[in-house]
Symmetry: C2
Subunit: 721 residues, 2 copies
């Protein structure tokens, strides 16, 4: 905790880090092609106004400036030091300068990405930062570029235009390519940061900083892994409340996971969980580089979207239809045009025009039709306008672009262009770009980006920190649960027995199907064949009373060693009478000697859920709820719930998620009880919070009903750390 | 039949149509901005070598050439006439010239797209074509451009480079925009055809023509509707066997369907069915304009893909990972690199390079590393190579482009580039374009296009025409079935009774659950209350014998008026004894007076299918097979089978489709009997073929088992025309 405190204190000062009045460059050189030379030139020649001090013990002078042998030698204040020396010298340089300098960019490679030795070096570096209250970017990074003060503190070339996009990237190469491509897209930056190995400063710190930076409107993040899951959730949620955060997370396939671990050593979290985290925190996740780029462009340039209704205006039927097609499966919709507006349109449009949405101005439309059409629809409620254009015979593309620009300057609607073509529209595209109207070369790109941005506009982010803090940890059940787990740990078991799991469910008030535990008397094993039932003593797991058996029942093996018992024939279902039961018990005992056996009634099945807890390496425990039944693995209808959670959040996500159909009335079927299911999931969340050493809980099935019947956990597997 | 014969005869001669030695332009004018003027200039000024005759009764001379008053007046042979006059004059002009000229482009609008009057005019035009053996493109089209002979017979400006893409579009505007954008993508055309209203020449005719055209490697089609479904299937299948056909079908959303019908009046077929048609015929369907364009570029420029394995070579880790990510859910896969090749790579690559796929040459890679890496992997079996590049400090982009070009000239592998950036890579992109290496600005674009092209390379198209012709129509069952349907038609019923449907199932040997039809004696209605069972006479629908009732049973209403009987409480399930049965029958009779009632046993449910026939307006009867059960409508796990069908095709599609999991052994569960299900579907296909006036058949559920138990149709609904 102390550790975190110091780190946050220092990282709070990133203002100074990104806007230094003086810079020291350690490893400066004039040698052509060396990184040290590129960095110096970038800082000296691209317009930066602050003081620059060059450090290299081998020179007295470089680039006509005095050269120092060390940072300590410089008498003036140094706001930022950039280190470009072989890895083995880095930590000493930082250590020696740590009184004088608080902000460092470590460009040098040779840290955790090269293996054990490098990892050790990187940990040392992080420790230095902690002890001395330093801010360290990198190692193994490009540096950053702050175009507003014309500071290129990196070894990437060029100075992009100053704008409102804060771009941070775990891949330096991607940042460079993005910056190069950004120009033609009209994307402009408040900052470009290459994060490298993230020894200290990570995506969460940068998000926090840029959330407060007045020059930044949108935060764009390319990451391969997340360093601190819980910190990320906390900061991402706060940041998303203020500004859109757009993320591209690499490492989706098994193959590419391998590539990552050899690339930066980052731990790639499971994709579904990380997507649930982004969703919970209001982060806009994009699934590939193109959508990432499109969305950044859109958000950077346009107004916030007021509602989910869009109007298309086009000079071509086919492209209009294709734009409409792109709305399939989207949250944003084509608006219905009011009769009043249709009448206005009718006044000046040719008869063959379409007054329905997409509004088709026809192929011979000149700028006047666009102008009047835009003016006419401005009274509609729709929050978005998409201006589609194809360069037909004598289409005045630039003039039409000007009308869209003019409209955009006056309207509240989010306005985008879809001008399709090549040379014929090049001039018009320049105009649009100069006037911050995002153009998309294909309609589906525009619609996809608008749909995502609308999601942020309509965001609903729970602020649960206070709530979480106010939830009382219930010590008694926590203590009893820990005792059960301790017993298993002492017996070297990694999983609990059903009876133990059942007791925990009781403590957390999750209702379990009636269960009889069959006591196996190992000594009397020889008697088995003669009288298999003599050792059967039915015990209610709750109170240990003898119970009457109501057929039909199921017999199951209850062992920490047999985790997939259905696959291993550890389950016999539909036992109809005492004779079948005896035979089933006999079979189980022979197949799984020495293991416990349980008997459960065959309950009426209406809908089956699979619920549980999974501890994620990055984000900690995650609550899971999926559709069970025979096709569960085929359809993978699963929702992930990321703590901290409130009942309200669980209910909303259940209702709006993949399982939503269960909780709505459909085709005359009653909805299932969403309160009951949400409460059970909330109980699991409490369990996950109170008991840290639960690795996995799997309740499969949880039987739920759409009448008054109570939900019942049938099978329960608890795996411990 | 006669009609078809003549049409095909004439359209076979499209060679002459697209390569005319002489052209007459009716409606030629010098008036600036008029379509007639644009067309004349396009033909005269862009390099066309043939004879050109101008026709306009108002002039003696135009553009310094003699002007004729009519086509008939011209003494020389006219291979192609282009008509640009008001719609009302078009048909007369065509009629009067039809002895002299056989090929027409009708650019004039004012036909089916404007309503009833236009539709009549268009039908007349089609009749003229039929009677006189004419080829007519349009009306309401742009015309076509054949770059090889420098003929722009359209009112779109410009002359694209000659290449191998035959592009046909139902939207003229889209063709123009595509042509304009094509230049910067390096896409070159063998022909660009605007189809307009397709009064006569349609997508199938053009496909057939271009399938034989030696200048055409790939056929690209933008359509909003298909004119003749069965003809389309026939020709698409033949064409796909020879050349890739890439299609973009507009009109996916309800909204956009509206736009289409006001746009061209085309009938938009259901999306799922049309996708099944494309899939069956080997057509590569793309879901938006960008993917359409990407795939055209890829197929036009690269070699056929040998297998599903791909190798990525990159100078940047992050972009490498993103490229690998794009393979998620794709048929193409990242190849494993052999040890031998890894050893070769190790010889010259720095230690920190990744020798796994994606092969990372590191940020400081120059052209030599690319060259050697490409040479090293050429011995691998993988059919595809993706060269990824980001312009890092001193990356020699052009030189690396040259190495990729050089490699491509020697290898058998399909080679594509993913150079990412802007200005820094512009020169390299020009080089790649000039040398026909497709570059994709984002990795996911490359992977998506490769995956689709691989699908064509691995195509498996059934040629069933012979097979279909050889299948004997079984006249007797056809006759008996028609009699059953006739009876219903005479009684003004649009649906069959269960007993009738059951008889048809018997004729086609589809097994039905035992069913008792309860005879309602309308006269004895008053007796009902006292003795509800006295009128129950159990009849086996097959032979009319009295039957014993085995409980539990279900009672259902059997009426052509109640089609959604479950929703309307026309079904009572789980009736356990005679008393409950009496009550159920009583209730049904009261709720549905005068309607028939049936009794069926409650069969054991293991898996439920919904199978049937749906008559599509464009493609005729389609066979449907979907997963039934409580979540059928949620998961929509449905396959569409397009006749003509063979048992082999049905089996393969079932196994490889969404229902495939049922027919494979999974997690210890036996597979369901694919032969049985396929045979039942094949029987439905025969039924659809033999009986034309079936509009819809719905067997829901068909109960299937993964043991020896026979599949049973439980409920059967047959709707007739």
């Amino acid at each position: 905790m102390e550790y975190n405190k110091i780190m946050l204190d220092s990282k709070d000062n990133l203002e100074n880090f990104f806007n230094p009045r003086s810079i020291g460059i350690v490893g400066a050189t004039e040698k052509e092609g060396k990184v040290g030379s590129v960095v110096v030139k970038n800082i000296l020649n691209l317009g930066y106004n602050g003081e620059v001090f060059l450090v290299n013990p081998n020179y007295k002078e470089l680039f006509g400036k005095k050269c120092y042998s060390g940072l300590e030698e410089i008498e003036e204040k140094i706001d930022l030091a950039i280190i470009i020396v072989p890895a083995k010298f880095v930590n000493d340089i930082v250590k020696n300068a740590s009184e004088k300098v608080k902000n460092f960019i470590i460009i040098s490679a040779g840290f955790s990405e090269i293996g054990e030795e490098g990892k050790k070096r990187e940990m040392e570096l992080a420790d230095l930062a902690k002890k001395n209250g330093l801010n360290i970017l990198g190692p193994n990074c490009l540096g950053f570029i702050n175009p507003k003060i014309k500071l290129n503190a990196s070894f990437a070339g060029g100075m992009p235009e100053a704008g409102n996009v804060a771009f941070m990237s775990q891949s330096g190469a991607l940042a460079v390519a993005f910056m190069d491509a950004a120009e033609k897209e009209g994307i402009k930056f408040s900052n470009l940061v290459s994060m490298g190995n993230k020894a200290q400063i990570d995506e969460a710190d940068l998000m926090e900083y840029f959330s407060k930076d007045k020059n930044t409107k949108v935060i764009a993040v390319y990451i391969e892994g997340i360093k601190d899951g819980r910190q990320f959730i906390k900061i991402a949620r706060k940041t998303s409340l203020k500004k859109p955060v757009i993320i591209l997370k690499a490492g989706k396939t098994e193959k590419s996971k391998e590539a990552i671990s050899s690339h930066t050593g980052a731990l790639a979290g499971s994709n579904e969980i990380i997507s649930a985290v982004f969703n919970k925190t209001g982060i806009l996740e994009t699934d590939n580089l193109e959508n990432f780029s499109d969305l950044i462009k859109l958000v950077s340039e346009t107004k916030t979207i007021a509602n989910n209704q869009a109007i298309i205006i086009t000079n071509a039927g086919g492209p209009g239809v294709l734009t409409a097609d792109a709305f399939k499966h989207k949250k944003i919709k084509l608006a219905d045009i009011s009769q009043e507006t249709k009448n206005k349109l009718k006044d000046f449009l040719p008869e063959e025009s379409s007054l329905e949405n997409p509004i088709d101005l026809l192929g011979d439309a000149h700028e006047d039709r666009y102008k009047k059409a835009l003016e006419s629809i401005d009274q509609e409620k729709a929050g978005m306008v998409i201006g589609v254009l194809t360069p037909q015979d004598q289409t005045p593309c630039e003039k039409i672009a000007r009308e869209i620009i003019n409209f955009n300057s006056k309207t509240n609607k989010t306005t985008v262009a879809v001008f399709m073509g090549g040379e014929k529209i090049a001039e018009a595209l320049s105009l649009l770009r100069e006037n911050n109207i995002p153009n998309f070369s294909f309609p589906e790109k525009a619609v996809r980006a608008l749909d995502k941005y609308y999601k942020w506009s309509a965001r609903d982010i729970y602020d649960l920190e206070q709530e979480e803090a106010s939830i009382e940890i219930r010590k008694e059940r926590q203590k009893k649960t820990l005792e059960i787990i301790q017993k298993a740990t002492m017996e070297n078991r990694s999983a609990l027995l059903f009876s133990e799991a059942g007791k925990i469910m009781d403590l957390y008030e999750i209702s379990v199907a009636e269960t009889i535990t069959v006591d196996i008397d190992v000594k009397s094993k020889n008697e088995e064949k003669e009288n298999p039932d003599s050792r059967l003593r039915g015990n209610d797991i709750k109170n240990g009373n003898d119970m009457e058996i109501k057929f039909p029942v199921a017999v199951k093996i209850d062992s920490d060693k047999i985790l997939h018992k259905t696959d291993q024939q550890g389950v016999i279902l539909n036992i109809k009478n005492q004779k079948e039961l005896s035979a089933a018990l006999e079979k189980m005992k022979n197949n799984f000697p020495g293991e416990n056996i349980i008997i459960q009634p065959m309950l009426k099945i209406q809908a089956e859920l699979i619920i549980g807890i999974k501890k994620d390496k990055v984000f900690g425990p995650v609550i899971i709820c999926g559709l069970g039944g025979i096709y569960a693995e085929i359809f993978k209808t699963v929702e992930f719930f990321i703590p901290p959670l409130s009942l309200d959040e669980i209910k909303k996500r259940l209702l709006n998620g993949k399982l939503g159909f269960l909780f709505k009335k459909t085709r005359g079927k009653n909805p299932y009880n969403i309160n009951e299911t949400a409460e059970i999931l909330m109980k699991l969340a409490s369990l996950a919070r109170e008991i840290e050493n639960i690795k996995e809980i799997d309740i499969n099935p949880l039987l739920v009903y759409n009448n008054e019947k109570e939900a019942k956990a049938v099978d329960i597997k608890i795996v411990i750390n």
